[in-house]
Structures are given as C-alpha cells and as structure tokens.
C-alpha cells in the first residue's frame, strides 16, 4: 500500500479536479434543478462511507474472532473514515432537502436510520478512546454491530414508503435516465472511494506507529 500511496494521491487529485467541470456540464433534473447537483457529492460520500464500514466490519471480525492484532488498526481506521463520510452525507443531505422538500430534516426511515448508524460508529470511537483497558474488543463489537445495521439503512427506502428517493435512482441514472450524468457520477464516486482508501491507509499508518510507541513504552517500563 505504501508504494501505491503517491500514485493514488495523484489519481484522486486529478479526479477531484475533473469532477466539478463534469458536474457543471451534467443536465439539470426536471423538478429539483440546480440543487440536485449535490447528488454528485452526496451519494458518493455514502458510497465511501459504506466502503469504510466494510473495512471496519471485516477487520472487527478478524480482531474479535481470530485475535488478529493488526486488524485492530484497520477497524479503527474504517470507523473513523465512516464517521467522516457519514457526516458529509448528513450535512449535504439536509442542504439538498431544504430546497427539494422545503425542510432541512424529516424524521423518516432513511434519514433517521442513517443518523443512528452514524451515532453507532461515533459510539465505537468513543468506547475505544474512553473505555479503558480492554475497550478495543468492545469497540470492535460495536463496529461489527454498525456494519450489520448498514444493509438495513441502505434498503430502508425500498422497505418503507419514504420521502427520500429510492435505491433505484442510481441504477436508473447509470442506465441513461438522465443522459450525460453517468460520467460525472462515476468520476465523483471513484474519487470519493479512492479518497476513503487513502484516508484509511493514513489512519492505519498512525495506528501502527501508536502500537510501536506502546511496545516501546512497555520495553522501557521493564
């Protein structure tokens, strides 16, 4: 990963430089107009969050069930990055809703469950930071619980009748329901996913250095 880091930074920078031009050229949606363009950052931020959640879930399982020490660093990186991208989604969504629905927030299934999922990952980080000795296991269990809730959050718009657009919006868009919007969306989604990978690798490096510091402290104490 360390060898891939610099090329990835360049690729992400190019994609983020390209995305605004493509988004500006994308067609306007019939009922929402300009504000619908938040979609090109809003949905990719959730995709990036789900990427981080997947990493957190897998790493938490490895740490809990196989006692894989190095997986702990990936679990905390996944949880932190999930909180970051979740926050982006939770802020950009109401800004879109204010114009599209006339209100900042509605306590409907998708928005409420997404907020709860964000709170679960914040809880995971708080447990790890302030839980005292052995809190890593509890935090890993919380991360795994958060990962298990994520499919329900994603499918909530299809299960319940909600104000939020359904999951079919993205596949329909990629099939050409809004000609000209596929490329900006794909470029933006790729940029966000790669950014999440970069941020997680940075956070893993920090976790590894912290583990090295802890080992050195123990050595010094002895």
């Amino acid at each position: 990963m360390k060898r891939l880091f610099a090329p990835l930074v360049v690729i992400v920078a190019v994609l983020f430089a390209l995305a605004p031009y493509l988004i500006a050229e994308a067609p306007y949606e019939s009922t929402m107009g300009l504000v619908q363009k938040i979609f090109y950052f809003h949905v990719p931020s959730w995709i990036a969050m789900y990427t981080a959640i997947a990493v957190c879930g897998v790493a938490s399982s490895l740490y809990l069930f196989r006692s894989n020490k190095s997986a702990d660093g990936y679990a905390v990186a996944g949880a932190e990055v999930a909180v970051l991208f979740g926050l982006m989604g939770l802020v950009s969504g109401p800004l879109w809703g204010r114009k599209a629905w006339g209100v900042w927030w509605v306590w409907e299934p998708r928005l409420t469950s997404a907020l709860l999922m964000e709170l679960i990952f914040i809880a995971c980080l708080l447990v790890r930071k302030y839980g005292g000795p052995g809190s890593e296991k509890l935090a890993a269990a919380t991360g795994l619980f958060g990962a298990a809730t994520s499919p329900f959050v994603y499918k909530s718009v299809d299960i319940w009748r909600t104000q939020h657009p359904k999951t079919s919006v993205v596949p329909a868009l990629l099939k050409g329901s809004m000609a000209g919007s596929e490329l900006p969306f794909l470029i933006s989604a790729l940029a966000f996913v790669l950014l999440s990978v970069l941020l997680m690798s940075l956070r893993v490096t920090l976790a590894e250095r912290q583990a090295a510091l802890d080992d050195l402290y123990l050595e010094y104490e002895e």
Binding site: E29, Q36, I38, L84, L95, H164, A179, L195, L213, L216
Partner: protein, 89 residues
C-alpha cells in the same frame, strides 16, 4: 363478540383516513428537465456551494488531524528511543 364487532367497525372506519395519511410514493428515477423550463424559485446555489465547501473542509480537517497525531506519535517515539538508549548505556 361485542369487542370483536367494535374492533372490526373501528378498523373499517379508520382504514380510509389511515390510507389517506400515507406519504406520497418516493421518486423511482430522475427525469431530465425539458429545455427552457423554469425550475428555480428558491436560490439553490448557496446550498450547493455550502454542501461542496463542507465536504472539502471536512476532508482537509481530517487530514490535518491525522498529520497532527502522527507528528505527536513520532515525537514521542523519538523521545522514548533517546531515553531507552541512554538507560541501556
């Protein structure tokens, strides 16, 4: 028997209002605007700019916190390494 009858009557009477109170069906796919159609009543640009600005500020802020934490850990590591080499002598 009377209770069941009341329950059935209540269900029939309340079914109509309950169905009417359901939210409208969610949008299944996006439809492009027809050319020249007036779509904007409330300015959307500030909301759009705020959303994009927040995404950038949050990402940059997170990178800054990682850099700060990494520097602190590296400083602590160097200090501890100096201490351990001094005590081993």
């Amino acid at each position: 028997m009377k209770t069941i009858l009341i329950a059935v009557v209540c269900s029939i009477v309340l079914a109509g209002p309950a169905a009417a109170m359901q939210p409208p069906a969610a949008q299944g796919e996006y439809v492009p605007a027809s050319p020249g159609a007036a779509t904007e009543q409330l300015p959307a640009a500030p909301l759009l700019i705020a959303a994009y600005a927040f995404v950038w500020i949050a990402a940059m802020g997170y990178v800054w916190t990682i850099a700060r934490r990494l520097h602190k850990v590296e400083d602590d590591l160097r200090a501890l390494e100096r201490k351990t080499t001094r005590t081993s002598r």
